[in-house]
C-alpha cells in the first residue's frame, strides 16, 4: 500500500477506507534532528483533521504532530515511548497511531507529489 503525505509532513497508510496508521516523514525527522521524547494520545481519543494529536521533542525543538484525518485512536505505538529514536532510524516503520472510524481526511499527496513539495519548500 502506497503511503500518502500531508503538507505538515505526516504520512498516512490507509489500511482500508476508514482505518489508517500515521507517522512522520523522513524529511520531517531529518529536519527535527535526534528525537528524545514523543508524547502520544491515548487509545479511544478522538483526533481531528488539522489539529495536533501528538508532539515530539528533538534536541532542537518541540513540535506538534497534526492529524491528517478525523477519527478515533484504535491503537498507539507504545514502543516509540521508550525508543523515540526509532522515528529517526526508520520513519516509515515508526507509526505513531492507528486511527479507525475515519470520517474525513485532508487532500493528501502521493510520494512523488510530496517529494516535489519538499523540494519546493527547501528552495
Amino acid at each position: 500500500m502506497a503511503l500518502l503525505f500531508s503538507k505538515t509532513h505526516e504520512w498516512v497508510n490507509m489500511i482500508d477506507d476508514t482505518t489508517a496508521t500515521i507517522g512522520i516523514s523522513d524529511y520531517a525527522q531529518n529536519e527535527l534532528g535526534g528525537l528524545v521524547f514523543v508524547n502520544l494520545p491515548e487509545q479511544g481519543d478522538d483526533v481531528i483533521m488539522g489539529e495536533p494529536f501528538a508532539d515530539v521533542e528533538s534536541v532542537k525543538a518541540v513540535s506538534d504532530i497534526y492529524s491528517p484525518v478525523t477519527g478515533t485512536v484504535a491503537e498507539i505505538n507504545e514502543e516509540l515511548l521508550d525508543a523515540p529514536e526509532m522515528i529517526n532510524d526508520a520513519p516509515y516503520d515508526a507509526w505513531f497511531v492507528k486511527v479507525e472510524d475515519i470520517t474525513d481526511k485532508e487532500d493528501l499527496m502521493t510520494e512523488e507529489e510530496y517529494k516535489a513539495f519538499c523540494e519546493a519548500e527547501q528552495a
Binding site: 521524547f37 508524547n39 491515548e42 481519543d45 521533542e57 525543538a61 518541540v62
Partner: protein, 450 residues
C-alpha cells in the same frame, strides 16, 4: 529628607543649557501650572546613620522574642548549625542573582544540583526540581501536573495545612479545575469518604495527602496511595523534611509526587519567610515537573558541567501548552537547605526528628496529667492537639509572661502544640506547670461562682 541627587548646581545649569532650557521652570512649562508643586514636599529632614540605627533598634525592640517556642503548624523552630549561615553569607551566594545565561554561573547550578540530589535522597523519588517559593506553591503546582483532558478533578485532604488548601483553591479558581476537600475523621483523612468520592468520579486527577498531617498525626499513607491509584488518579504527598529522616519515604508509600516546605531545613521561622518549597517526582512524570531543573553533563572537553534542562519544553517555547508559569526558584533558601542537610547528615537529621518526636510525646503526656486532654488518639510526629479547658488567650498570656510561645489555638477551643529538639525538659515542665496553674485558677473562679 536628604538629597541623593549627586550633581552640583553648576552641572545642573550646564545640563539645562545643553537641553535648551533657561531654568527648571522652563523645562517643566509643558506641565499645567495647576498640577505643579509650588513648594517643596513636606518631608522631615534626613537622619544621620547613628540616628537611623537608634530608630531601627527602637523598632526592633518592640518585637517579642520567645525563649521557648511550642508552636509549629507549618513553620518549625529547629536548631540551625552556625555553619549554615556562615556558608550562605558568602557574597558569591548571598548577592548573586542567576544570570540570564544561567550556565555562566556553574557554582550556582552545582549548588542547585546538589539540592535536587539531596531532595531525591530524602523523598526516595527519581527527580527533583530546583525549588519553589514555598511549600504551598509547590503543593498547588502538583495539580496542573496531574490534570489532563480525562482527569479533571483534584482532591485534597482536610487534614492538610489550611494555607496549602487555600493556595490550591486559588490555583484551581484560575485554571477552572474542580477541587474537592475530603473531610477528616478522628484527626486523619476519612478514607471512606475518599473511596466514595473516587468511585463516583472517573475524572479524578490526584489526591493530596499531608504526612504527618496538620494535626501532627500519621496518615495510613500506603493504604491511601493504593486506593488513589486503584481509581486511576495520581497520589501526591506533602511531607515534613525533618520527619522524612525517620519515616517511610513518599516513594515507599507509592507517591507519584512529593512536595513540602523546606523551612525546617536550616531556615529561621522569621515572620513566615523567606522559605523554600521542594518538589520531586518519578521518572515517568519527569516532563511534567514545573520550574527549573539542573542537569549534570559533560562539556566538549569532557569536563563535568551543569546546565538547565527539560524546562524549555513548554514554559518557553510552547507557552500556550504550558501547565505552569514558574520559571524561577528560591535559590538562597535551597542552598540553606543543602548546607543544613550536609552539615547534619542523615544521622543528625534522624536524631533531630527522633528528639522532636519523643519530646512531643513527653509534653502530650504532661499536659494530659495537667488536665489538657488529647483530642486525637493516633500515632503522631512532633505535633498534637489537646483540648483547652481554660480561655486560650489567658493561657497564652501566662505562657508569654514566662517567655514561652504556646501552641496554636485552632477550632473548637483546642490547641495544636509543637515540640522540636530545641525544647528542653525544663521548658516543657515549666509549660506544664503554668498550664496546670491556670487551670487551677480557672477551677477557683468556678468555685467562687457557686
Amino acid at each position: 529628607m536628604g538629597s541623593y541627587v549627586p550633581n552640583t548646581l553648576k552641572e545642573r545649569e550646564e545640563m539645562l543649557r545643553e537641553a535648551g532650557y533657561s531654568s527648571f521652570d522652563d523645562m517643566f512649562s509643558c506641565i499645567p501650572e495647576e498640577v505643579r508643586l509650588k513648594e517643596p514636599l513636606d518631608l522631615p529632614h534626613g537622619l544621620s546613620e547613628m540616628e537611623v540605627a537608634r530608630k531601627m533598634e527602637e523598632l526592633a525592640d518592640k518585637n517579642v522574642v520567645f525563649k521557648s517556642i511550642f508552636r509549629g503548624a507549618g513553620a518549625y523552630d529547629h536548631f540551625i548549625p552556625s555553619i549554615v549561615n556562615s556558608v550562605i553569607s558568602k557574597e558569591e551566594f548571598l548577592t548573586a542573582y542567576t544570570p540570564y545565561q544561567a550556565e555562566i554561573s556553574q557554582g550556582i547550578l552545582q549548588s542547585i544540583f546538589e539540592f535536587q540530589t539531596m531532595i531525591c535522597e530524602l523523598t526516595g523519588m527519581d527527580v527533583a526540581n530546583a525549588s519553589h517559593y514555598d511549600g504551598a506553591t509547590a503543593a498547588a503546582e502538583t495539580i496542573p501536573m496531574c490534570v489532563d483532558r480525562k482527569h479533571k478533578t483534584a482532591y485534597v485532604s482536610a487534614a492538610a495545612h489550611p494555607g496549602v488548601v487555600k493556595v490550591m483553591q486559588t490555583y484551581c479558581f484560575g485554571s477552572g479545575t474542580r477541587l474537592v476537600v475530603i473531610p477528616s475523621k478522628d484527626g486523619v483523612t476519612d478514607m471512606d469518604v475518599l473511596r466514595d468520592a473516587l468511585e463516583k468520579d472517573p475524572e479524578a486527577a490526584c489526591f493530596y495527602l499531608q504526612q504527618p498531617n496538620f494535626y501532627g498525626n500519621f496518615e495510613d499513607a500506603e493504604a491511601i496511595g493504593e486506593l488513589v491509584h486503584a481509581h486511576g488518579a495520581k497520589f501526591v504527598m506533602g511531607v515534613n523534611p525533618i520527619a522524612l529522616a525517620i519515616m517511610k519515604t513518599p516513594r515507599e508509600c507509592g507517591a507519584d509526587i512529593a512536595v513540602g516546605d523546606g523551612q525546617p531545613l536550616g531556615m529561621p521561622i522569621s515572620y513566615g519567610g523567606p522559605y523554600v518549597g521542594f518538589m520531586a517526582t518519578t521518572s515517568a512524570m519527569m516532563r511534567k515537573l514545573p520550574g527549573r531543573i539542573v542537569g549534570e553533563t559533560k562539556d566538549d572537553d569532557g569536563n563535568r558541567a551543569y546546565v538547565l534542562t527539560l524546562q524549555a519544553r513548554e514554559q518557553h517555547i510552547r507557552r500556550e501548552k504550558a501547565s505552569s508559569n514558574i520559571c524561577s526558584n528560591q535559590d538562597l533558601c535551597a542552598l540553606t537547605a543543602s548546607v543544613y542537610m550536609a552539615s547534619m547528615g542523615a544521622k543528625g537529621m534522624a536524631e533531630a526528628a527522633r528528639q522532636s518526636m519523643s519530646k512531643a510525646h513527653y509534653l502530650r503526656e504532661g499536659l494530659k496529667q495537667a488536665g489538657y486532654y488529647p483530642v486525637f488518639h493516633k500515632d503522631f510526629f512532633n505535633e498534637f492537639v489537646t483540648k483547652c479547658p481554660v480561655d486560650d488567650e489567658k493561657l497564652m498570656d501566662a505562657l508569654a509572661d514566662a517567655g514561652i510561645l504556646g501552641g496554636l489555638p485552632i477550632a473548637d477551643g483546642s490547641i495544636l502544640w509543637c515540640v522540636t529538639e530545641k525544647n528542653t525538659k525544663e521548658d516543657m515542665d515549666k509549660l506544664i506547670s503554668i498550664a496546670k496553674e491556670i487551670l487551677g485558677k480557672g477551677g477557683l473562679s468556678y468555685e467562687s461562682n457557686i
